[in-house]
Amino acid sequence: MTLEKRSVLTSTIAAFSFSLVAGCSGATNPSPQLYDAQRAYQRAAASRASELAPDRLLTARETLDRAKAAEPGSAEEQELSYLASRRARMAEVYADYLHDNQELGRARSLQDRAQRERRARAEEDLDRARKQLVKTQHNLAASSAELRARTTEVVTLESQLDDTESKRQAAEKRADDAMRSLQEVANVRAEATETVITLSGAVLFVTGQSELLPIAREKLDRVAAALADSGDDEHIVIAGFTDSRGSRTKNQKLSLDRANAVRDYLVSHGVAPQRVEARGYGPDQPVADNSTPEGRADNRRVEIHIQKKH
């Protein structure tokens, strides 16, 4: 290697010059600076310098070799040793400098990568949040539409309810009016299980007949009106009664015929036939004394029983 040749050349020349001028320099012991230089070089060689600053380390090495080749104790040896020390130290320091820069570079690129990742994640989060927002807005719109539909429904139902209530009140009023009107022409008695309308036989029928008098119609119209507006679940019994004079059989038949006449009239004026039943009681169940004309008149009657079925 060229290096070896140069060292050999230097050593040879130095040895030659030494032999020529043996008298010029007196000392033969190596100077302490050479020892220091050796140590400095060894330290540098063991440090990062061998990996990161091999050129500078080599320069130091060469200088050290020249120092070793110089005449021991000479000024030249001292100078070269001094230079070798400095150059060994420079190799170390330069290697540290390179190392620091490398570390900084690494740290920076790690940081950049971390930043890029953070930004990418933030963008993903933002994107996800945006999508979520859109979904929420759709849901909100759907809910609003639902709410509007429900509200409309409620309004409709409320108005239907008002309607039904009005109708009910109207029907109630009609029933009350009908009853009041009826009470003008008949005796109306309300009992626990039934309402009883009593009509005098004299105002309904010709004596001894079961044909209805014309004026009876007006009264029976009011009865029909009152019955039409009462509940469908009520059962109506039309009961005919006579006084006790005359044959029982005849009275029985008369009372039944009269009850049927009233029934037929009422059915033909709107009362449901299945609700109405006609019965003849003849002289039974008198309400007054049959021995007086007034009493007998009272007993000759038709009773309409409106029986509540609950």
């Binding site: 050349l9 001028v21 070269l80 940081q111």
Partner: protein, 115 residues
């Protein structure tokens, strides 16, 4: 590099045979050494302990070399100046390394804070 090797082989020869004289232009070397020292000072080498020492050594060596040139001892001056330049160069490297280390330290501190 070969120049240095050659010079260092010639110097002992010249000392041995002729005693004195015959070295490369001392003033050029002086200018080199002085500019190396300026560079080291400009890089704030004095703020690094070892750097401050190197600056002082370089400074002293330059003054010694100037005296040697004055008294005509060019050979001697050449060696002194080589030393002065090496001291200044080392001072400069120390300053640079110190700054790089400081930069790295600050970066790492800031990075730790940001976490």
């Amino acid at each position: 590099m070969s120049r240095i090797v050659l010079a260092t082989t010639l110097i002992p020869l010249s000392i041995a045979v002729a005693g004195c004289g015959g070295a490369a232009a001392p003033n050029a070397r002086l200018a080199d050494a002085k500019s190396a020292l300026s560079a080291a000072k400009a890089a704030d080498a004095a703020n690094v302990p070892e750097g401050a020492l190197q600056i002082k050594l370089s400074d002293d060596a330059i003054r010694t070399a100037e005296a040697e040139i004055q008294s005509g001892d060019d050979d001697r001056a050449a060696m002194t100046l080589e030393r002065a330049k090496a001291d200044a160069d080392l001072a400069l490297l120390l300053a640079r390394e110190n700054r790089a280390r400081e930069e790295l330290r600050q970066f790492q501190t800031r990075a730790a804070e940001d976490r």
